[in-house]
Point group: C2
Chain length 212, copies 2
């Protein structure tokens, strides 16, 4: 298809597609003539991935480039590819050096180990968890997170993994991981707030007395 059809089909504006081509986010079409190139389903799929990373994952263009590079590098394993995308999605964590930070990080690592999870030592979510534990300790909140870990594992293994096409094209798998991570995360967050309102409300409303 021509670039104008690619734009119509994908819903991405023509200047935006040209920008992605210039930035190397989108691979060039097959050159048919000096001013005409042919685009196919791989371009549509790639545009979907870029939009997912940009709009749903809210990643900066520099991070999207890193993800695209590893998707295109077929010498990288699916594992490495998904790891790169996944690690780019997490919030930046500021470590606060000192013995309390070290203790929080150890607590996070111990939890992951006790759960028997296969997680690389450099996974940024370890620091994310450490930072949260650090803060909870400072504020005197209970830090037993086993119920949270159990719930997270159940949702990921029973629902989210089912949406990832591990055997399909590489960008489809990355897209599914990004969308699943972000969207199920937001859904859970909204549901948690709703449950909080409901439970707060229930605890603050006196139970109706019989006969009144």
């Amino acid at each position: 298809m021509r670039i104008s059809e690619l734009s119509a089909e994908s819903g991405v504006a023509l200047p935006t597609i040209k920008y992605y081509l210039r930035e190397g986010l989108l691979h060039p079409g097959e050159q048919l003539a000096a001013t005409r190139a042919d685009y196919d389903a791989s371009h549509l799929r790639r545009l979907r991935l870029i939009r997912a990373l940009l709009e749903v994952g809210r990643l900066p263009v520099a991070s999207i480039k890193k993800v695209i590079r590893v998707v295109d590098d077929t010498s990288a394993s699916v594992h490495e590819m998904l790891g790169t995308a996944h690690y780019a999605l997490g919030p930046p964590v500021e470590r606060e050096p000192g013995p309390e930070w070290e203790a929080a990080r150890r607590e996070a690592d111990d939890l992951v180990e006790a759960l028997g999870w296969q997680v690389l030592p450099q996974a940024p979510a370890r620091d994310e968890l450490a930072q949260t534990l650090f803060r909870m300790r400072q504020l005197g909140l209970p830090t037993d997170l086993s119920a949270y870990a159990e719930a997270a594992f159940k949702l990921v293994s029973e629902t989210e993994m089912g949406t990832v096409p591990f055997d399909g094209p590489r960008d489809a798998a990355v897209e599914a991981v990004v969308l699943g991570t972000v969207l199920y995360g937001r859904a859970f967050d909204a549901l948690r707030r709703l449950a909080q309102e409901s439970e707060t409300s229930r605890r603050l409303t006196p139970a109706p007395r019989p006969g009144v």
Copy 2:
């Protein structure tokens, strides 16, 4: 205590405390002389709340003022007070008017009703959930969130509610709701990422064959 002691005790810098006083976030101390005022435990508690809203909740000062105003308004019920704080914590939601948005919002409302949760119609988390469902539909992701709702309810009712002192001072209850909402949310998010990495890794690593 004097303002310098309040600063030392709370860890909040003197100019910052003066700024909070000017902005009306912190109530004035008891005026002992033209240049000397006396501060007490209520000021320490208020500073803790402000820091929690600012640093953990990442609320803008304008939202913090709204929360503080309702904490100080003893004619507002605990319920209203917690609602104001809670509603200020959610991310802003951009509605996308049209029949698809309406359908997503109805789906969110139906879910809340089916769960039997006590949630006001104007709760922003309803729109948050609607927006997520809207996006999931657009992208062809499964929208059955009952497992997420069940997990959220369990964590909120069995763990988080236990951290809120419903019978204590008003600002302590607000502080607990803010800290609980934000910090347990972050902990869950980090754990979910760790579970995702572990499950992806497990599914991509061939099982060891016996004798090899």
